[in-house]
């Protein structure tokens, strides 16, 4: 159906609602009156008296009071005065006929998108066009693999997609098949382990750990496996082991490795201040004088503060800044940073809570 046709019908209905009362004839005032309420009340007193709920004297008193109100009310009712104000009615009729459609369009057109049709999901799933949804492609690949379960390449393509869709259990099965039919490799073992973790809701299970160890046996430099083994150690409460695994990763890492930040964050989580700098810079720092080193640290802190001023969402960053100020013995700045941090994340309850917990750990809550 054409949307404009529907809009027109709706407009006609709205205009009709305004015009209809104007076209009717009214004999008299149809509404209720005050007097009827008081008559009700009088009847109520009779009933209460008959039921023995009130005494005769009280009833008489109440009756007099209500009768007085009733008299006043009937006196005030001057009777139905219906003077059709023709001019006024005409103005309203014109407003309804012309104004309502015009105002409707004037408001709707800038806001609405009448050219857009419906996109119910069911209809879209069946549409065989080029923009076919990922879900359908996955279903097709799965159907294909159902028939050719030994297609190792197919499983290798499907598995990461399943993992991204959140279908962790299926992803685990897919990676297993990929390894069985497409050949073993350290990457696939590591990916399988990752899928197992996702399926377990973030817990590095024994099974997953086994896969990472196998991956490392195939390739000692497998980054993902190392990282997750560190995580396993952390989850087991062996933070020392976790830290040493991650430190070793950082030591071996090329300076521009994209996962550096992730590992550093993990390290700071277990309480080790991550070497945020490459080894060369650290070595240089070791050779500096006390003043130079202080200047370098201060420079880093200032950069952090400047970054947080622009983007205050980073709770970890704020906590690092506060900790740095505290270490440098600058308590006022730490307090100011705390206030800034709270203001920056005030709109986000989760972050605010996280921040407050962190501050509590630093002994700077309140």
């Amino acid at each position: 159906m054409n949307p404009w046709f529907v809009f027109a019908l709706m407009t006609v209905a709205a205009v009709f609602a305004v015009l209809w009362p104007l076209g009717r004839r009214y004999q008299s005032l149809a509404g209720g009156t005050e007097a009827s309420v008081y008559r009700d009340q009088l009847a109520e007193i009779d009933r209460d008296l008959a039921g023995g709920l009130i005494g005769a004297a009280e009833a008489e008193q109440a009756r007099i009071e209500i009768s007085r109100r009733l008299l006043a009310a009937t006196g005030a009712e001057t009777g139905p005065v219906a003077q059709p104000t023709t001019r006024l009615r005409r103005v309203i009729a014109i407003v309804a006929l012309v104004g309502l459609p015009l105002a409707g369009l004037a408001i709707y057109l800038p806001l609405g998108s009448p050219q857009l049709g419906d996109f119910p999901l069911a209809a879209r799933s069946q549409a065989p066009d080029g923009k076919e949804p990922l879900v359908n492609l996955v279903a097709q690949v799965e159907a294909h693999l159902e028939k050719n379960p030994t297609d190792g390449r197919g499983w290798t393509v499907l598995a990461p997609v399943l993992a991204r869709l959140g279908r962790s259990d299926d992803a685990v099965r897919a990676w297993r098949n990929a390894i069985a039919y497409g050949g073993d490799s350290s990457e696939r073992r590591a990916d399988l382990g990752e899928a197992l973790i996702a399926a377990a809701g973030g817990v590095v299970t024994g099974e997953a750990k086994g896969e990472f160890e196998r991956a490392l046996a195939l390739n000692a430099d497998e980054v993902k496996a190392s990282y997750f083994l560190g995580l396993a150690a952390e989850q087991d409460g062996r933070t020392g082991d976790a830290a040493s695994i991650w430190k070793a990763m950082l030591a071996k890492a090329p300076p521009d490795a994209p996962w550096r930040g992730l590992v550093q964050a993990a390290l700071s989580r277990v309480g080790v201040v991550a070497p945020a700098l490459s080894d060369d810079t650290m070595a240089a720092a070791r050779e500096m004088t006390e003043t130079d080193r202080n200047a370098m640290v201060r420079g880093m802190v200032d950069r952090l503060a400047a970054r947080l001023k622009q983007n205050g969402d980073d709770v970890e960053g704020w906590l690092r800044l506060v900790r740095a100020y505290l270490v440098m013995g600058e308590r006022e700045k730490a307090v100011t940073a705390r206030a800034d941090a709270r203001q920056a994340v005030a709109n986000d309850a989760d972050r605010l809570r996280q921040l407050n917990e962190g501050l509590k750990n630093l002994g700077l809550d309140g």
Partner: protein, 660 residues
């Protein structure tokens, strides 16, 4: 087309509201019946269009049309159908649409069933109602449009906040909104009376059923919200004095006061100006609640979205309506005819006392809620006013109020006899004293205040029963006579007895839960047993399960009491992949009015899981009380309708002649 039609329907509703806000008033001024009648047809048409708009948005949610931003941001194709529907109002834009839909519903109800109202009063009421509606239509269309579209629709939505994926969302917000918005009717009546410059006892009679409806829904809505927080948030708490909860409590307190003062106005033509003020304040507090929750001033579960533009707009609406109505009040109230006088010891006096306590309690909550916000705005200092403040101020205000509750219905109108009322309450007092003594003997030491509080609650309940016994002449007269009188008793008398008893019931629940609540927090491994209040909870095992749009860890507990085997409990923890959030689903085992409560915490690496187990004696009374109150309200409402709707014409006519 579905979404666009919904959008256009909303725009048309705005157009109709604008006409409805002017034409009927002009009609009433000129005495033109047709223009006054126009308020009815436009109010009904508004309901048609807003209802259509809401239905079409729901249709977009059900069919997962992700080209609608609102659907994309708050829905997911894998979500169960129920949550696809409730998700419509589980977000800012949709909930505002529900708000105006209910506003339109109330307007249409007045238009359809307000046939007993004088024409000009009805025209004024509906016009004022249309002002409110127009303001909110503008707010929705320009700052929170639920029908905004995406030209290139994404294939999957972002899912609804997992905490809201619960049956509670199907009931709590609609109930609460029916309450909040229902008070708009008494507001409109008040402003209409001020505009007309005429107010009398009949006004109170007309406005009372609407206030009662709003009050019933608000009571149920608050109770439902409290129960939802209790089982969903996993802390076992049922009231947190959270600003958003307070925002719903304030209109309830003011509305309860309004209900009582309107009674005085109806019966005795007194307290008129005060009742008008209360009507205005109650709805203002409802608006304030909407503002607090929607503007992002507060962060809580309820704030779905925060956007400064919305905040400013709502603030504007708030200023115009509250400021405007109060200015009108200040201007017109002195010209209103003052009502009758009465002695301090009388039914009216008791109701004034009730009003004093309720409004003071309301003011206390108001200060506790808004003071920290004001302080933060003025000085930047952040403080939190928590439960201790409210417990310390609210408690002392409610104790005398509860003590006075049984006296009110026993006092006569105009001039009451306190001594006689006290005599009639002797039985209730004795029952309460026995309850206190029994509690003391049973506890031998222990908390001192708890038995006293329970005694107070028993006094309130027994007082409500004595009131009914007194009216029916139970024990004084033969049983058949009493039964006949009980049948003849006005339903509103039964209603107030039930509502007052509900207050006592809730108090017992509150006292028992806070005093004798036992808690057990530990990390358990399968096979281990926790003991709490005589119950043995054995963790049988942990299993994983895949839900439609989440994974959950279930813990099976077998429950035993003195060797007897009770139904198993399976609390769970759900993790939702789309939002990366998890929720706890507490397991509840109900034994009478008491409950055993287990919720899960985090799993530890060695296969254990943190659990919180609570035994909460008589906790369900906390919610049965409000349900009882709402039932009382319903009884009272049925009474009104019967009597206002169907007067006895013959008899009434005779009475009229006698009066003249």
């Amino acid at each position: 087309m579905i979404a666009e039609a919904g959008h256009y329907a909303l725009v048309l509703a705005l157009g109709l509201a604008l006409i409805q806000s002017v034409a009927p008033i002009v009609g009433a001024r000129r005495g033109d019946i047709a223009l006054m009648e126009m308020a009815r047809s436009t109010a009904l048409a508004q309901l048609l269009f807003v209802g259509a708009s809401f239905t079409l948005l729901t249709a977009a949610h059900v069919t997962s049309d992700f080209s609608v931003v609102n659907v994309f941001e708050n829905s997911h194709s894998a979500k169960p159908l129920l949550y696809k529907i409730t998700g419509v109002w589980g977000n800012h834009e949709g909930s505002m649409l529900l708000w105006v839909a209910i506003l339109a519903l109330f307007g249409a109800l007045v238009a359809a069933f307000g046939t007993n109202l004088p024409l000009s009063l009805r025209a004024h009421v509906l016009a004022v109602q249309a002002w409110v509606a127009a303001a909110f239509y503008l707010f929705i269309l320009f700052t929170s449009n639920p029908f905004a579209r995406i030209a290139q629709p994404p294939i999957e939505g972002r899912d609804l906040n997992p905490i809201l994926q619960d049956i509670g969302l199907a009931v709590h917000p609609p109930m609460l909104y029916l309450g909040y918005v229902g008070f708009s009717i008494s507001f409109s009546f008040a402003v209409a009376a001020l505009l007309e410059g005429r107010i009398d006892a009949a006004w109170a009679r007309w406005v009372r059923p609407w206030t009662l409806v709003a009050w019933i829904f608000l009571t149920l809505g608050i109770a439902m919200g409290s129960y939802w927080a209790y089982y969903e948030l996993g802390w076992g708490g049922w009231w947190f004095w959270d600003p958003v909860e307070n925002a719903s409590l304030m209109p309830w307190l003011a509305g309860t006061a309004l209900l009582h003062s309107a009674l005085v106005m109806e019966k005795r033509n007194a307290l008129k100006v005060w009742t008008i003020l209360l009507s205005i304040l109650t709805f203002s507090l409802s608006l304030l609640g909407t503002f607090l929750v929607r503007s992002g001033v507060l962060t809580s579960v309820h704030s779905f979205a925060t956007d400064p533009a919305r905040g400013v707009f709502i603030l504007l609406i708030l200023c115009i309506f509250i400021g405007g109505s109060l200015s009108l009040y200040a201007l017109r109230a002195p010209q209103l005819k003052q009502g009758g006088l009465f002695a301090p010891i009388s039914r009216e006096g008791a109701l004034v006392l009730n009003n004093l306590f309720l409004t003071t309690a309301c003011a206390t909550v108001f200060i506790g809620t808004l003071y920290p916000l004001a302080l933060e705005v003025l000085t930047g200092e952040k403080i939190s006013v928590g439960a201790p403040f409210f417990n310390l101020t609210f408690g002392p205000l409610f104790v005398p109020l509860l003590l006075a509750v049984p006296f009110g219905p026993l006092l006569a109108w105009k001039r009451g006899d306190l001594l006689a009322a006290a005599q009639r309450l002797t039985a209730a007092g004795i029952v309460a004293l026995i309850a206190i003594a029994l509690m003391w003997a049973w506890l031998r030491g222990g908390p001192v205040l708890a038995p006293l509080a329970i005694g107070l609650a028993v006094f309130v309940i027994a007082g409500a029963i004595s009131d009914i016994a007194e009216r029916t002449g139970l024990f004084r007269m033969p049983l058949p006579v009493s039964l006949r009188r009980a049948r003849g008793l006005p339903r509103s008398a039964w209603g107030s007895a039930f509502a007052h008893a509900g207050l006592g019931v809730a108090l017992i629940g509150i006292v028992c839960e806070t005093t004798w609540n036992s808690e057990y927090i530990a990390t358990m491994k399968p096979g281990q047993v926790a003991r709490i209040a005589g119950y043995e909870l054995k963790l049988e095992g942990l299993t994983q399960r895949q839900g439609p749009n989440y994974r959950e860890t279930l813990a099976q507990f077998s429950v035993g009491l003195d060797g007897e085997k009770l139904p198993a409990m399976t609390p769970s923890k759900r993790s939702f992949t789309t939002r990366g959030m998890s929720t706890t689903e507490a397991a509840l085992l109900t034994r009478g009015a008491s409950q055993l409560y287990i919720s899960l915490g985090d799993a530890s690496a060695d296969g254990g899981i943190a659990i919180r187990a609570y035994y909460k004696p008589l906790v369900l009374l906390i919610w049965w009380g409000p349900v009882l109150m709402a039932f009382g309200g319903l009884l009272s409402l049925s009474d009104r309708r019967l009597r206002v709707g169907a007067p006895k014409p013959a008899r009434a006519a005779r009475r009229l002649q006698a009066a003249e």
